[in-house]
């Protein structure tokens, strides 16, 4: 035990089985492998391994996608914190929201971060889509990632819409009344939509009924929207975000071949 000095501790840690099981490092530490360790790691290098100078310019990609993702992270964090105080029941929902604004320490800034972050996320998704469209980045071989992006857009809207009801004020109730009444006109599965009478759709068995948990916006609706907002939609969105990022790394940036400098 002669070499048990403080100097050897880092070496011992790095060579331990625990360390090696986490940071799999079976390769020789040459220049190439050190590069690969960075470029193959999604946390160090979320961008594609090979990317042109033009493609990484801010004026090309506007950072819109990654800003959207940061907003999603902020919304997840602040949303989880809001869940500690907010109870999705008719007698409490509105007053819990007011408590968060006026009584809970830092509650107002959390609620406002969540609220304005949500608006910003919807906006940035649209900016991101516009940029993707104007730079022709939706064209092959990236056409599938555009489709994934449209799915992400829809789930962003669904998150925004379901979160809209949760303050349980007049604006929330009537906005969701209006929004879900549009679902009445869904073809086949909405009771006022085309072909719905063929399969016997009524006000108490169509898609709007399933969404509301009743025939009008009420306590069942608040609970359903809460569960979908906090668990259902974020999980599905996360799955598609993973696919979206994976495809960006696989397919590369479209800015590799600039049309004109």
């Amino acid at each position: 035990m002669a070499n048990l000095s403080l100097k050897n501790v880092p070496q011992a840690i790095v060579e331990s089985q625990i360390w090696k099981s986490i940071f799999r490092h079976g390769y020789t530490m040459n220049r190439r492998n050190r590069l690969l360790a960075i470029t193959n790691n999604v946390f160090y290098h979320i961008l594609p391994t090979k990317i042109s100078k033009y493609g990484v310019r801010m004026r090309f990609h506007w950072g819109a996608g990654i800003i959207t993702f940061y907003l999603f992270l902020i919304l997840t964090f602040t949303g989880v914190l809001l869940m500690f105080y907010y109870v999705p029941t008719v007698p409490r929902a509105y007053y819990d929201m007011k408590d968060l604004q006026h009584v809970v320490p830092f509650g107002n800034i959390l609620r406002n971060m969540h609220r304005y972050g949500a608006h910003a996320m919807v906006f940035m998704v649209m900016v991101h889509m516009a940029r993707t469209f104007y730079t022709s980045s939706y064209k092959p071989p990236r056409e599938f990632n555009w489709v994934v992006g449209v799915i992400l857009l829809n789930f962003t809207f669904l998150l925004s819409f379901s979160g809209y009801l949760l303050p349980w004020d007049q604006l929330a109730i009537w906005a969701v009344t209006v929004g879900t009444n549009m679902a009445r006109a869904t073809p086949l599965i909405g009771h006022e939509g085309p072909f719905a009478n063929l399969i016997g759709m009524k006000v108490n068995n169509d898609i709007r009924f399933a969404l509301l948990g009743g025939t009008t916006v009420g306590s069942a609706t608040l609970l359903r929207f809460y569960v979908l907002h906090c668990i259902g939609f974020p999980i599905i969105l996360t799955i598609f975000i993973v696919v979206h990022f994976w495809r960006v790394r696989r397919d590369g940036f479209s800015g590799d071949v600039p049309v004109r400098e």
């Binding site: 009344t177 209006v178 009444n181 549009m182 108490n204 068995n205 009743g214 025939t215 009420g218 069942a220």
Partner: protein
């Protein structure tokens, strides 16, 4: 053994492997389709704890001729309106997207705050995006002489809506 190349013999068709494969995939598919159908059915409750669609709205003499009464509106979303013919219960659910319109007595109009639809006192849609007139609920008298309104039965077509049970005729 004279048969076409690639075709399976009777024994080969009924191997143990094929049977087990059928059973395996069959149970896999039936399990997950059962889970899917059950989960979807789960979202359609059998019992609703929603308020009754029927309510009592006082006596006929509580309403004056020419009056648009808002006394039942907050709880029942219904205007009680008495004209020369009788009393009818106009449901205050906008036929556009379901907001609650407001009665403006100074303008003799019913207006929806959400998207600006206008209605006359008889329920006729006259402006804005509403595609059809407001509905009237079925209205009748019980044995004690109280007005009973039933919102589950409703009508908005001129002619039909001016006849019982959608109007309570009073002389």
């Amino acid at each position: 053994m004279a048969r076409a190349a690639g075709a399976l013999s009777a024994e080969e068709h009924a191997t143990r492997r094929r049977l087990l494969s059928f059973l395996g995939w069959g149970s896999f598919v039936s399990f997950f389709s059962g889970v899917t159908i059950g989960s979807l059915r789960f979202f359609f409750p059998r019992i609703l704890y929603e308020p009754s669609q029927q309510f009592i709205a006082g006596k006929p003499e509580d309403y004056q001729v020419g009056e648009v009464s808002t006394r039942m509106k907050k709880e029942q979303r219904v205007w009680m309106i008495r004209d020369q013919m009788g009393i009818y219960a106009l449901i205050s659910v906008c036929t556009h997207l379901g907001c609650t319109p407001i009665w403006h007595s100074t303008e003799n109009r019913i207006k929806c705050p959400c998207h600006g639809s206008n209605f006359l006192v008889d329920g006729q849609n006259v402006a804005g995006p509403a595609p059809s007139p407001l509905f009237r609920a079925a209205i009748s008298l019980d044995l004690a002489g109280n007005i009973v309104v039933d919102k589950s039965q409703k009508e908005n077509q001129p002619g039909k809506r001016d006849e019982p049970p959608f109007i309570l005729p009073l002389s």
